[in-house]
Symmetry: C2
């Protein structure tokens, strides 16, 4: 018998089963826009300490749930834990984002990379998942996550964030075999990592393909989507007596939804540059959709936020298969009351789209 | 009788008339990847002096034509000349890009903005156009250009470059009337500016909508495309006895091509995230297409560049209506011989797509 789950709206929506209202969560909901998060972050000292200390990770994961009636928790962590466990030496430089001390740039350094053991090398993540599940106590499901192989590779080759992706693109043109080697070891690592998160208690997983959208259409298939498809194939379809749905989110990938449907994901995440109603027409009933309010809409007055939420709900239309979310992470300058206004609007306005279901 | 034009391939391709081979030019072809450009830039001292001194602007405009068999020249200038002429105080900070001393952030500062007089306030641009036309002496056509109202507005409100566009998006949600006021004065300014460039001798014009792709689909129509459409309506269809084609380039706008067709543009620019063959199927014979090699492909060895060029040409397929270009500006680290390899490949491989035409 599966463990207790008081609110399974999100699971049902992901599986396109009837729901009473549209479930809602926010990417980066445990983040800098919350004063209580900034307080813990200051206490921890730095960002990696937050990630690697299960008690801190658990505390900040639960903060937004104590404030807002959200329908899911998402593990507090970072997509770059895997390359860090591979030995690249991750640090976060204030104002400059992530940096790797030992980036990989050629076939030789790629060949040296091994697949991290999730329980040995990333045990702090699995401990956090277990602790969060225990503290959540069945309130809402817990989302686990990982970066896509392509997205992780961009950071590993560039050495950090990039605007032009010139190093990894040079590698793609100069030595595509080496890049495929890198993506292969990353796909194995991500699959093992997500499997372990599921075994530790993650009830939904999301693959963040933050940089898939910088590729050409055929390179997206070859260097990003194919690897995510392999990962999804490797994941267990159920755990603890319940299906474990997979969400695939390629930022900037709105033009390629038809192709992404073939990945085996249960749900596709949308950024704000597509109309969710058009997206629904294009994917039909083959997958659920998650999104897609422009995070910048949360800078508006609450009455305008409500209008913007109404627009997304109306565009998706009647029936299940929609998980309300932002089209990207919530930004630090958003007042928490504005996030509250969005969530309230979903609660208030979405039931009429599920009547008779 | 129109003035002499030895090479009108680009004009014919833009009008979808038969050509012997696909014309080719590169966005930012007069730029930092060329040592002779860097030499002039060093001589001029700073970037704005290059733009505001017609002799320098002319010299660097012609440099890539002396090196490569390109089918068009593009005026050397910057899209931010208009806001500078409006009094915002433009400067280029090394490594940080453009900055405005006096950004506009509210209705009051927007109301104070006037439409710059192209010959009085931007006379240096018109002088550069006249000088370049005279020095070009009919070799190839000269492309004039401007930023789109939305794109200019992003810099004017943010105060410079942005990753999140949070200030202009806050304005869009908080005071859309003020934003429309700003876009209206910019649309008038851009129309007057492009008209003056055409009268001074620009034979083609391109509107750079660099940041239209960060909008939602409906906001793109309301805050970017509508204003570009008004500008195109205001431009003369011909000058000096020849049509003056208009190219509209919205980076990240590949999903919206069907809507952009209604703008009245003769040609749509494509970035590298769309397949140009798919794009052609979608727009039919209503417009020509420009693009769309990934600029990063120029980091590869010349033999791979040739393959990449072959891919774009094959994807577009038989017939006219294609102007070969990169999907965005050429980047500073590209060796000039790699640009040469791309251009040679277009010359060598494209004639077979125009046989019998």
């Amino acid at each position: 018998m599966p463990s207790r789950l008081d609110n399974d709206l999100m699971l049902r929506a992901l599986l396109r089963e009837p729901v009473e209202r549209t479930p809602v969560w926010m990417m980066r909901q445990a983040g800098r826009y919350l004063p209580e998060y900034r307080e813990v972050r200051a206490r921890a000292g730095d960002f990696m300490t937050l990630c690697t200390t299960p008690e801190y990770a658990c505390e900040v994961t639960l903060q937004p749930l104590d404030r807002f009636p959200l329908d899911a928790a998402i593990l507090f962590s970072d997509i770059l834990t895997i390359p860090d466990a591979m030995g690249l030496g991750l640090s976060f430089v204030h104002g400059e984002g992530p940096q790797f001390e030992r980036p990989v740039r050629d076939a030789r350094s790629i060949q040296r990379l091994g697949v991290p053991d999730p329980e040995d090398d990333l045990g702090y993540v699995m401990d956090a998942v277990r602790l969060i599940r225990s503290e959540l106590d069945g309130r809402v499901p817990l989302i686990g996550f990982a970066g896509s192989p392509w997205t992780l590779a961009t950071y590993m080759v560039e050495g950090g964030s990039s605007r032009t992706f010139s190093r990894i693109k040079a590698l793609r043109y100069e030595d595509p075999v080496a890049l495929h080697m890198l993506l292969t070891v990353l796909a194995e690592s991500v699959a093992a990592y997500l499997k372990a998160q599921i075994e530790a208690g993650a009830q939904i997983v999301q693959i963040f393909d933050t940089w898939g959208g910088v590729l050409t259409p055929s390179d997206y298939r070859e260097f990003s989507l194919d690897y995510m498809t392999h990962i999804i194939e490797a994941l267990p379809e159920s755990n603890d007596g319940r299906p474990v749905p997979v969400i695939l989110f390629t930022k900037g990938g709105g033009a390629w939804l038809e192709t992404m449907v073939g990945s085996g994901a249960d749900c596709l995440g949308l950024d704000w540059t597509v109309d969710i109603g058009d997206a629904r027409d294009r994917v039909g009933d083959r997958v659920a959709l998650q999104g897609n309010l422009d995070p910048a809409a949360l800078l508006a007055h609450p009455e305008h936020i409500r209008e913007a939420v109404a627009g997304v709900l109306a565009s998706f239309g009647q029936g299940s298969g929609h998980v309300f979310n932002l089209g990207h992470g919530i930004t630090p300058e958003v007042p928490p009351e504005h996030a509250a206004a969005m969530i309230e609007a979903v609660h208030a306005l979405s039931p009429s789209y599920h009547e008779g279901s």
